[in-house]
Symmetry: C2
Subunit: 366 residues, 2 copies
Amino acid sequence: MARKSRRVTSKDVARLAGVSRTTVSLVLNDVPHARIAPETRRRVLEAARQLGYRPNAAARSLVRQQAMTLGLILCHPPAHVYTDPFLPQVLLGITGALQKTEYRLLLETVAEPTPGEDYLDLAREKRIDGFIISGPRVDDMALRRLHGEGVPIVLLGHLPDLDIPSVDVDNVRAAYTAVAHLIRLGHRRIGIITNGPLHYTASQERLAGYRQALAKHGLPYDPALVVEGNFTAESGEEAMKHLLGLHPRPTAVFVASDTVALGALVTLRHEGIHVPTEMALVGFDDIPLAAYVDPPLTTVRLPAYELGREAARLLLALVAGHTPPTTRTVLNTALVVRASCGALQSLRDPREKGGETVSDVTGARS
Amino acid sequence: MARKSRRVTSKDVARLAGVSRTTVSLVLNDVPHARIAPETRRRVLEAARQLGYRPNAAARSLVRQQAMTLGLILCHPPAHVYTDPFLPQVLLGITGALQKTEYRLLLETVAEPTPGEDYLDLAREKRIDGFIISGPRVDDMALRRLHGEGVPIVLLGHLPDLDIPSVDVDNVRAAYTAVAHLIRLGHRRIGIITNGPLHYTASQERLAGYRQALAKHGLPYDPALVVEGNFTAESGEEAMKHLLGLHPRPTAVFVASDTVALGALVTLRHEGIHVPTEMALVGFDDIPLAAYVDPPLTTVRLPAYELGREAARLLLALVAGHTPPTTRTVLNTALVVRASCGALQSLRDPREKGGETVSDVTGARS
DNA sequence: CTGAAAGCGCTTACAG
DNA sequence: CTGAAAGCGCTTACAG
């Protein structure tokens, strides 16, 4: 094995092929206008192959003024990232979209609690050509500045008053569907455990969907039935305890995160309250394990892989200088009916795993 | 907002501060030997701040011959990555270790089924200074070549016959502990569902630990009791069905992955077999939700965050030119006793969540 | 204590 | 069809 083999440059290839570095570059980059003699091309290609030549990325970036790198910034709090069953899927979606391109992915997590301006530097240093911001925060000033500087950005999730392109689901509508489902099953007193604190837009929106569903069906909104979760199962456990202390207590709860819902289930088990007969539950996310808990969770399916993929595609377009066809891409969600809501109770074996998918009308692209 | 503000270079800073670019570089990089007049330094710093100057990463990499980027290569099959509850923790561990450094993380997933040589190029193009290879495969030739070329590599997991520095847990020992625990509880006929196919070293090793535990306690090894999982809950469901078809069937099963164990639990529920009284279960991983399923899973805790952190630290050292103090770093695992194994049965409320931790002797660094 | 100059390894007008 | 030369934005001996 050739230890520390001196790195090979285009000069080496040029020498071996008996041409200039210009020609090497022209051939290797398949420059459209340059017309190279077939024989010359062959020689260059052969020399490059033989030497195992690969153009130096830094040199190339320097002259092209392109890093050929996209940044994924994770703005969620560690507690969330830690238990986030979606991150792998989102990641796979992104890298999948980047697969056939020359772009690579740089991953960055953002300091808590206040998002610093650190990640701005990635753009200023030209280490990155554009950003995918996952879980953008309303109070993130760096984001606004970045956008102001004209750096390509795609939001995974979205921010209300900013015109930055975003890829997201319609949380309001999805939550609405989940709660309407519960109402349709006859529930009149329905609690909600949010997925996270209300300064997260997704949490706000899911709560809004809950309220809309109540309003639309003439049910009163009772703030006492609203409890905040914080992304963890533990928070769901606590929240459910709180809900059970209410008089009268709710007969159903919409838990805006499956992970949090699992915690709620534990409390219910402790208290010997049967799900769904004594308490119906609908979750949100459709985490990989949602079908495997007891009882299987009725939940809202989030297209994690697709969210990642679309975000990457969109950013790729932006970086290439295209104007996005739409500033807000909304992906479909679907209500997956399993046993925890009680809908399958009389229909068939409630342990049924696949679940019945009630596709949401939430529309393609807006 | 200043649209497309022309990028600012060290030349701009030099001009504003009334010095040369050399001085700007010297000041900004805090070069040890260079002695700069305090006043000059102040002026440079001020000018840089005022201009919002950030040195161009590509130019810097080019001259330093350092990408200041580390690569994380995910070699697991998509099915695994998809449901991998650890990836986020590992990621957090890595980025945490990189936090205070100038290094960033590039994420790459490897094509299936045969790992291509694609990721080699990341090193050849000098896009990356070193690799963390997660889930290295025995048949990965690219890896061997990379190592031969002297590229810094750290394995997350490990390969038997290679002297590449690795960070891992002692899978054999951890599995041994889990199975010995079951034997101590009185079980004599114990099945195993592997976490994945046996060409994954971790799967092999956990199986080996299972066999050692049997042998050590004078129990016969019965190949019929060995079923392969493939990282998914679904595979656990199937595997348990198979095990239940055996006569006599096992009274306990060691499932070498919590995710797979959840699938096994579903089959058990379907068949109305009570856990742990009719079938005891021990998992592996201690995924965030292990404590929240029914019954809470007795399992082996894997220090995911720490694995990521140590791998990053080690690679940082290698990239800095240090020789690793040890070629194999082995992190501790711990048996977390919850309800699924039956050990808490007579002791206390089996629903107890925290679980009892039986720290494994598996030693610090080897 | 500070600056002029070379060089990192590419790409790209511009000649010929 | 191909090459000499400039330049991307830094860092780093080397002078002074």
